[in-house]
Symmetry: C2
Subunit: 370 residues, 2 copies
Amino acid sequence: MPAARADGAGKSGPTLEQVAARAGVGRGTASRVINGSPRVSERTRSAVQAAVAELGYVPNRAARALAAGSMDAVALVVPEQENRLFAEPYFSEILRGVSAELGDTDMQLLLTLIRDQRGRERFAQYAAAHRVDGVLLVSVHGDDPLPDLLREVGMPAVLGGRRSHAEQLPYVDSDNLLGAQLAVEHLLGRGRRKVATVTGPPDIYGARCRLAGYHAALRAAGLESAPPDADDGGFPADGPLVVQGDFTEEGGHRAMRELLARDPEVDAVFCASDVMAAGARLALREAGRKVPEDVALVGFDDSAVARHMDPPLTTVRQPIEEMGRAMVRMLLDLMARAREDPPRTPSGTAGAEQQPRLVLPTELVRRSSS
Amino acid sequence: MPAARADGAGKSGPTLEQVAARAGVGRGTASRVINGSPRVSERTRSAVQAAVAELGYVPNRAARALAAGSMDAVALVVPEQENRLFAEPYFSEILRGVSAELGDTDMQLLLTLIRDQRGRERFAQYAAAHRVDGVLLVSVHGDDPLPDLLREVGMPAVLGGRRSHAEQLPYVDSDNLLGAQLAVEHLLGRGRRKVATVTGPPDIYGARCRLAGYHAALRAAGLESAPPDADDGGFPADGPLVVQGDFTEEGGHRAMRELLARDPEVDAVFCASDVMAAGARLALREAGRKVPEDVALVGFDDSAVARHMDPPLTTVRQPIEEMGRAMVRMLLDLMARAREDPPRTPSGTAGAEQQPRLVLPTELVRRSSS
DNA sequence: CGCATCGATGGGAGCGCTCCCATTTCAGCG
DNA sequence: CGCTGAAATGGGAGCGCTCCCATCGATGCG
């Protein structure tokens, strides 16, 4: 005699039906209580809640997703570039923020590391098939097609960091320009006069902003003539005191040597990332320059390396965790909106709608390298 | 006139039914092809595959999960302790490994950061309700109830790091003992004679192993008498040259000062983590001791700080990414087994079954701090 | 006091898929 | 040439839930 049911295996707990029965109400009513519908009497509500507690009921996500057509899940997509330029604290912090903010909802966090083209396509298809309700994109390159693709299939998405000044998608970014400006002003305020900079890759918008901030500070101090335009582009990406790095330590090292060769009088360097500052610091040591006596050094990111460098590195801190939280809030908002609105074809409203955007402040962290 | 279908919204692509129709077969057959069942003729198979390609069909996970009773998802659970002792490279590396290995299956990765008791209960309930097919637990404390709870509800789980020498659950760990032993032997080989150690919290098994390795090396060199027992406990957690740290930089700093106070002759220190080594390095600098001339320093983990310390820190590297991969492989294996076997009540087979376990080798990374 | 209203409730109809049983087909065999 | 069994296939029965419509009262008003 086969057991009534080969239970114990993958079977889960009680069903809504059972909860309803136990509470002496109908399935629909029980569902209403569980989903917080207001159209339920107080008596009924508590009866159902009691039944839920007694039975230890946990709604079946798959069933809910299938019936409701939403997945109650958002994906955090992280492109995992070869050079893993994007690592260290940034990722953990974002995750912390995202997770914290998501913890209040009962939304799932799906993590997707995209390693290669194949992975990208796979995810694109996955998203196009609406297997998640929203997407958080972090560390997106200027030429990444994924964001627009998501937009086309009507999948709510929020970027962490813009791809350009006129980013079309909703985003949360930090004020890279002002942060860089603060850093350079700080250097200038310390009496430094030959302030150089090691930039990041020019195809990353944030890196361009940091360079723009550098120029802005110099200009404000009257050390450089007015530039073509505002906060983007328009600046010489190169020049006697501007050397391009690539966000790696090795790149910082190389750039610093180049700088020293170009002008031995350099007395301060603003590096667009802490990691590059570490490389620069090495080059300075090799050249017998003391930090900060001979050359003051400032980084960007306030990553772990900054605290552990010798001397500890002055740097610019971004509210990364808060960025994560803000991204989630923004995404949840978009998702709610998408649920209500009839998301007509992209070209519908002629794209006149204003996408939400948020730029968080950065702050200078003074340590002894400057 | 409303479009035949207010499409573009949350609706996903074609259904199995449509694929089947297109291929001119029945739903069951189409399903069989998609799930790789062998009981399908070659002709039919290719017909269905063509239809899938043409329609861009992507199976609906929710429906599949509901019908099949499995979720095609595993959770990676990360306790997020206050002190975030567990951060930096470890987490990213584990994630990289997990993600890479999971990328080959079409299993989803659900990330769960557990912040507090409430979060723990929430996840426990979630798992008990079988909302995932397997769980990866990382950085588990000795007294964490979660693992046993998972075991009770028959949820396949793999630990990253044991809780004790006789861990009952499947686990992947690294050879902490041998790594520590290598480190200390290295110090001894460099002619150091007063080798001290800064330990981690004693309630973490890995930390105890590192201490045991320290003792083992000293003993092998005849610098310490034979201890009570093998590779676990049995050693004095304290002693003239053994000071307890807590895996934090501040703790390492404090411990090093204590060490210097106890015995100014100390000429080498093995710290059970790089971060503590950073703290120790600071204390040494404050005390005017040079590294490595006066005191040689070795850490553990090969985290980012190690490379950026001055001088760069000799340390012990664990194959963390590989641990992540191994955990996934082990978990998938357990899941497959659970699917076949009738997972009877825990007490069933008297727990005589051998749980899979794996201990990966560690390696010494020599830098200039020793 | 009867009828229109509105809130509260019960429960049918699927959501898209897997499982599994019934059916069909066909080769092999006595 | 009819019979048996294996292989291939079709399609019903749900999985547990949300949606939505029909129902049932109770309330308010003419």
